[in-house]
Assembly symmetry: C2
Homo-oligomer: 180 residues x 2
């Protein structure tokens, strides 16, 4: 329901067609929110079936007519409900994509360290690009702030892991290769 909440929230500020909605999400929220075009269109069509939004066909020049969606009173009610639901309970985030960390001890420190450094570089790049994203209207700013805070925390944690690995490597004595 989060994706519906997002679409409704955007439609509250302005009537929009599917492409426009997808663009708005893709450019402002980037890779942080997964909502592909076909999915956006399907959700809009579903919400129209549910009476949460309606649409008018609009034509500009010779271009094919497009469906401009607007939120309905029912949609507004749904938005208010979904917003309260979403804010009120915390969903733990999925860490499937970080599962490699669970097998870190399968690698020697010599192999693990460069990989973790590469990982660190990617995190820093993302942190910078999020910071550089600049001003955003209203609470979108809040989301970016949160992202920056979390990335900084994870970076900090990763540094402790790297430090520990370095120490372990040092204690054992630096052996040129990996012990087979």
């Amino acid at each position: 329901m989060e994706r519906e909440l997002l679409l409704l929230g955007l439609l509250r500020s302005q009537d929009m067609h599917g492409y426009q909605l997808h663009e708005a999400i893709d450019s402002h929220l980037g890779m942080g929110v997964q909502l592909t075009k076909p999915t956006a269109y399907r959700l809009l069509s579903n919400m129209a079936d549910d009476g949460w939004v309606n649409f008018r066909e609009e034509q500009e020049g010779n271009r094919p007519p497009r469906r401009v969606y607007a939120i309905t009173q029912q949609g507004e009610v749904a938005f208010q409900r979904l917003l309260r639901e979403n804010l009120g309970n915390y969903q733990p985030s999925d860490f499937t994509c970080h599962i490699g960390l669970a097998f870190l001890d399968e690698l020697s420190a010599e192999e693990a360290l460069p990989l973790l450094h590469s990982r660190r570089t990617g995190m820093e790049a993302l942190l910078e690009s999020t910071r550089a994203h600049g001003e955003h209207p209203g609470s979108l700013q809040l989301m970016l702030e949160r992202q920056v805070h979390l990335l900084a925390a994870e970076l900090e944690w990763l540094d402790t892991v790297i430090a520990r690995l370095r120490n372990a490597q040092h204690e054992t004595g630096v052996q040129g290769g990996n012990e087979t």
Copy 2:
């Protein structure tokens, strides 16, 4: 490919059948890793097609025969590759499920604060249960540690948001109801 990495990683330590694998993931990693039973079975069957695992039919008592999977040499190669790939590049986490925060300013402080407190309670509960999860073999411990670190950071951030809202509420003067 993360789910394949996880299954291969578990099979490296011990031959297992699908149900057992699903159980191991569900109980140890809880809600942090999404891998439903049908998906686990399908991934195993796909990996068998790819030659990453093989299986033997095993029967216990009158129970229907079950497929006990084992990792192959090819699977081990795949595991090593996937592990390095996964550790080396950082995937930004999806924050779709926190999108409500982007519309926080649509609510009055009077309405927002109790919701954020409820959210906070959920986060603290998760933090405690993660901390209480106790000792885990090898680097699984590392994953839990990471989870704790990130939850603590997000809790900290949420507290600043709550504090700001309280201040704003104070500045404006506490009006009993919501201005319509």
